[in-house]
């Protein structure tokens, strides 16, 4: 649709969209404000918009006990992260191949996450964060790996069994999870897999697999058959053609699907809370605040925990916002 040209109407458009921004973010702004308040300010009879901000609640949530040289350590971590960001931005100009630079940054970040609890006494939320990273990475990688091979085959095969699998996937995508809790719990107990990363990851892969194969299939449908046929004429096997020729073309689709998978895994609450006791993710750990909502002193801490839990996901999704939106479009318009 062509944009409106009338200047008054254009102002109207922006006013409306600012109202949408306010409508979508107001609760979070309120929570972010709360997270910087003292208990007194947070419980004031008249809500305070202007107050002395404090990082007290963040320290309470993140740390078991404050370290003696906290400022120095905080500064050190900040410097390391800043350095990695700068290296990331300069990656293309460095004499090393760009791929290795990114791998190096990822490795350094992993090392930082691993090493931090050995320097400072971190709070429980930090373990939840590492659990989330491990479970999300595992589930996304496995799910997209097996889902893209299957999605490719479903996009190319014309037999009846392909349609049967796709229809079964629709059914399983829409089924409630509660029926699965008891079977998964019992089988987990019997096999000794209960309370391990493996069970959580593989269950999340399975429960979201119907969605993954549909979405990957939609992306493979947009790839013309000619390019892989040409490769196969040149002597490549079906898998060789898929791996060398098709995958590089659907890379944006793989990123979009991975993002969605990340969102689904990060949002999962019931299944993870049943399948594990010691490997809880951030989302499951936040459930402890459901009961304590109206305990007066807890508001700033609860807010800080909520902000910390949500921020990593928001940052990742907003970085890849373009692929995310295009991914929904491609998945929806095609499928």
């Amino acid at each position: 649709m062509r944009p409106i040209t009338n200047p008054l109407a254009r102002i109207g458009v922006h006013v409306f969209l600012w109202a949408v921004v306010l409508y979508s973010t107001a609760p979070f702004i309120w929570t972010i404000l709360n997270s910087f308040k003292t208990k007194r300010d947070a419980n004031a009879a008249t809500p305070k918009l202007i107050f002395d901000p404090t990082l007290r609640s963040y320290a309470d949530v993140l740390l078991k006990s404050a370290p003696d040289n906290g400022v120095l350590i905080g500064f050190g971590i900040f410097a390391i992260v800043l350095m990695l960001v700068v290296v990331g931005f300069l990656a293309k100009r460095l004499p090393l191949p760009t791929k290795y630079v990114y791998w190096g940054i990822a490795g350094a970040l992993a090392l930082l996450v691993w090493g931090l609890p050995r320097v400072v006494k971190t709070g429980e939320i930090y373990d939840n964060f590492t659990n989330t990273v491990i479970i999300a990475t595992g589930a996304v990688l496995i799910s997209v790996a097996i889902g893209s091979v299957a999605g490719y085959a479903l996009a190319r095969y014309t037999g009846i069994s392909g349609i049967v699998i796709l229809l079964a996937a629709i059914v399983f995508r829409s089924l409630p999870r509660l029926g699965y809790i008891l079977p998964f719990y019992q089988v987990g107990q019997d096999t000794g897999l209960w309370d391990t990363y493996w069970l959580v990851i593989i269950v999340l892969v399975a429960i979201n697999q119907p969605f993954t194969i549909w979405m990957m299939r939609a992306f493979f449908m947009t790839v013309p058959r000619e390019i892989e046929n040409a490769a196969m004429v040149d002597g490549a096997t079906r898998f060789g053609a898929f791996w060398r020729v098709v995958i590089p073309v659907v890379w944006p689709g793989i990123i979009a699907t991975s993002l969605f998978m990340l969102l689904l895994v990060y949002h999962e609450f019931i299944l993870i809370s049943i399948l594990t006791q010691s490997k809880q993710t951030l989302t499951v750990a936040m459930a402890q605040f459901i009961g304590g909502v109206s305990v007066p002193g807890s508001v700033p801490r609860q807010s800080a925990a909520a902000v910390i839990s949500v921020i990593p996901l928001v940052i990742v999704v907003l970085i890849f916002q373009k692929q995310f939106v295009r991914g929904i479009g491609a998945g929806a318009v095609k499928g």
Partner: protein
């Protein structure tokens, strides 16, 4: 692609789905025919179809189904209209500002539902903004009762699911050919007529898809109702999912809970048949 290659390529995915989706579902059906509590979790007692009879005779089950249907009927159309209008406005802006508006509009969907609901509820608990405004205006303390809780669930559900509709419609609008719109404006159509006669027909498949996804997802609504009501029966705001959860955990009848889940599975599959038939026809036509 040959049949054998197809099965080789789909094997890992199929094995995962058969082992972890189909087998557990069959096991769930069997568990639904047993009397199980947390204490006797490893010694189920077979009771046949008794559990299913109990559920279908329970007025609370039918009340939860009725409330779920009300949620569907209220939230689905409102969120689609809201999403369509917001997408229309987003389509009017370009560049950096569009990315900013879109990012902000997506926030309710990115934020984890459980945490987002805890955050939302802060506004209504005593030191919160809405609770304060209510007290200032009416002079009474804001206390949740059945009506206000149900209203809040409806509002919050719309708030969570609208971003999906925004993104879907927005993506669809990007594929609208400009020539069609221009042709209609040469014929003298104004903007509203263009939306009604050109854009909406173009988006029809997408509108149908959004509708179906939303209806299916509303039957799985759990996290936000769970957090808002904390399963307090005072509100009478059980959806089918929270009813199911309550039966299993609070009432401590795990077998009965599985029977509820199985009944819901059957109901959903039956409700899906038209959609399955349409996709089957589409797939056959497309090959």
């Amino acid at each position: 692609m040959k049949r054998t290659t197809f099965f080789q390529f789909t094997a890992p995915s199929n094995i995962v789905m058969i082992v972890l989706l189909i087998f557990p579902l069959m096991y769930a059906v069997w568990l639904g025919m047993n009397f199980i509590t947390f204490r006797t979790i490893n010694e189920p007692v077979f009771v046949g179809l008794e559990n299913f009879r109990t559920v279908l005779a329970d007025p609370a089950f039918w009340a939860s189904l009725r409330w779920t249907l009300i949620i569907v009927v209220v939230t689905v159309p409102i969120h689609m209209i809201l999403g369509f209008v917001i997408a229309l406005f987003l389509d009017q802006v370009a560049g950096k500002m569009r990315a900013f508006y879109l990012a902000a509009a997506l926030i309710p969907m990115i934020v984890v539902p459980l945490i987002g609901t805890i955050i939302f509820k802060q506004l209504f608990d005593p030191p919160g903004l809405v609770a304060w405004a209510y007290k200032t205006i009416t002079g009474n303390l804001f206390i949740f009762n059945a009506t206000s809780m149900k209203a809040l669930i409806l509002v919050h559900t719309i708030w969570i699911i609208t971003p999906w509709a925004i993104v879907l419609f927005f993506a669809g609008m990007q594929t609208l050919p400009e020539e069609q719109v221009d042709a209609s404006s040469i014929d003298g159509a104004n903007r509203l007529q263009q939306i009604w006669h050109v854009m909406i027909p173009h988006l029809r498949p997408l509108i149908l898809l959004t509708l179906l996804i939303a209806v299916m997802d509303m039957f799985r609504l759990f996290d936000n109702v769970f957090v808002l009501t904390r399963l307090n029966p005072v509100f009478g705001a059980d959806t089918v999912m929270t009813y199911n959860y309550r039966t299993a955990t609070v009432v401590n009848r795990l077998g009965l809970g599985n029977a509820v889940a199985v009944i819901l599975v059957i109901a959903i599959v039956v409700a899906l048949i038209p959609l399955l038939y349409v996709s089957y026809r589409d797939q056959i036509k497309a090959r």
